[in-house]
């Protein structure tokens, strides 16, 4: 996936790694700043909103738990889209996007699990309950780790690209199936009267901070993703140059 190969394909604005890096250099600081601002505003509004009538103050965890769960899904969907880019359109940067998104997605999924279990502790009395949503997010976390392990195992980028793209797509197709089966598995054993975490309608004053927080964390995710992609391109450039240096060592 080195430079001169990319020029052969249909050039979309981001196809050329060098141009991608220059664009990324410009966009990242702005995106990062915006993300920080949005998160700050959301948390400030969240902490000034009235407490939830049933759960008291622990509802404040919702402001970060829901965005994290959303980002876990968003991250995997982005990887699936990039995987399509690798397999269907052969976009040179698609594989870079998959490899870069995996660890960040995994981090947010882990956060979703942790905050979910902390939020559930007062209600259920234990740190972990095999609640349908928490379990499917946990399975998603395993799929993220599988993808990261695959990317680490195959160090030759071109070979790993196809493999991780296929795995990402298969994983993505399976998410609804897992969701359905876990729900079914959960209701099968658990007494149905599991306390529903978020009420049927969220009060407006709680909804706004939630939306802004979700926006903020999504921007944060995109910032990290762009930075990770830029690093991945540099890593491949370093590898290519090291191979070159090895071949040059004889002539020099």
């Amino acid at each position: 996936m080195n430079e001169n190969v990319a020029t052969g394909w249909s050039i979309t604005a981001l196809a050329n790694p060098t141009r991608f890096i220059s664009i990324a250099d410009k966009v990242i600081p702005w995106l990062g700043g915006l993300a920080a601002l949005a998160i700050a505003v959301a948390l400030w509004m969240g902490f000034n909103a009235p407490e939830d009538y049933q759960q008291g103050v622990t509802v404040r965890i919702m402001y970060i738990h829901v965005p994290f769960a959303w980002l876990a899904m968003f991250g995997y969907s982005m990887m699936a889209a990039s995987a399509l880019g690798t397999l269907v359109w052969r976009h040179p940067l698609a594989d870079v996007s998959v490899k870069a998104a995996a660890p960040i997605g995994a981090a947010f999924t882990l956060l979703a699990l942790v905050t979910g279990s902390i939020w559930g502790k007062p209600m259920w009395g234990t740190w972990w309950v095999w609640d349908a949503r928490l379990t499917s997010v946990f399975v998603l976390f395993l799929m993220y780790l599988g993808l990261i392990a695959l990317n680490r195992a195959l160090d030759d980028p071109s070979r790993a690209a196809k493999a991780s793209a296929v795995l990402a797509l298969i994983g993505f197709v399976n998410i609804p199936i897992i969701k359905f089966s876990v729900d079914w598995w959960n209701t099968l054993h658990q007494p149905a009267a599991v306390f529903r975490m978020d009420g049927p309608t969220i009060h407006a004053s709680l909804l706004w901070p939630l939306m802004i927080s979700a926006l903020g964390f999504t921007l944060l995710f995109l910032t990290l993703h762009l930075m990770a992609m830029r690093t991945e391109i540099l890593r491949r450039r370093v590898t290519a140059m090291r191979r070159l240096a090895a071949r040059r060592a004889d002539k020099g």
């Binding site: 090291r242 240096a245 090895a246 071949r247 040059r248 060592a249 004889d250 020099g252």
Partner: protein
């Protein structure tokens, strides 16, 4: 220092591969083991290296003093593969082997200079070409001084000038009073080397 081998025979899987092999090597002398594939060259090399037990016969290393009391402590073994890890850098590989094999001889950097591959020190070993990998494998022999070199098909996979480079290192080692037992098909330009034809 002398390497004395008397009526040596080796077997593999219960079947005698070669028998009645005897030779003696003094300082600065080399023995080229030739013969068709399957004639037992590799088995002979592994028996001398102590990797395989000898069926009959003896292998003695005389005059080594306390530095090289027996054959095992006096030899370097270089097989058809390079014994280096692709994931580690060249320097890490060489430093590892130096730390394992007793008293130091050449520094890692000097050994790399000898084979003229100093620039690849920090590159992963896997990125090197076959010829370069072979030269690094040879550089390992310089890290700890051992009088006896056992080279099992040293020129496998080498092009012309890498083979010439290998012959050069071998001549240098003999010049320093070392001994070489090499199994090979190519005449390595070692003029006064003894030869041992392994029967079919």
């Amino acid at each position: 220092m002398r390497l004395v081998v008397e009526t040596l025979s080796g077997e593999r899987g219960g079947e005698t591969i070669f028998a009645g092999v005897s030779f003696a090597l003094g300082a600065g002398e080399a023995l080229l083991v030739t013969g068709p594939n399957g004639a037992g060259k590799t088995t002979l090399m592994r028996v001398i290296a102590g990797l395989l037990p000898a069926a009959t016969g003896t292998i003695r290393f005389e005059g080594g003093g306390e530095a090289f009391p027996d054959v095992a402590s006096a030899l370097h073994f270089l097989g058809p593969v390079n014994a280096m890890k692709a994931a580690l850098t060249v320097r890490e590989n060489l430093e590892f082997w130096q730390s394992l094999a007793g008293p130091r001889h050449f520094q890692v950097c000097d050994a790399m200079d000898l084979v003229d591959l100093r620039r690849t020190a920090d590159l992963p070993f896997g990125y090197l070409s076959t010829g370069q990998k072979r030269r690094i494998a040879i550089a390992r022999l310089y890290l700890n001084y051992r009088p006896l070199w056992l080279l099992d098909e040293p020129t496998s996979g080498l092009d012309a000038d890498s083979t010439a480079a290998l012959a050069h290192f071998m001549r240098e080692h003999l010049g320093d009073g070392g001994m070489i037992v090499a199994s090979t098909h190519l005449p390595l330009g070692l003029d006064d080397a003894q030869t041992l034809e392994m029967g079919g």
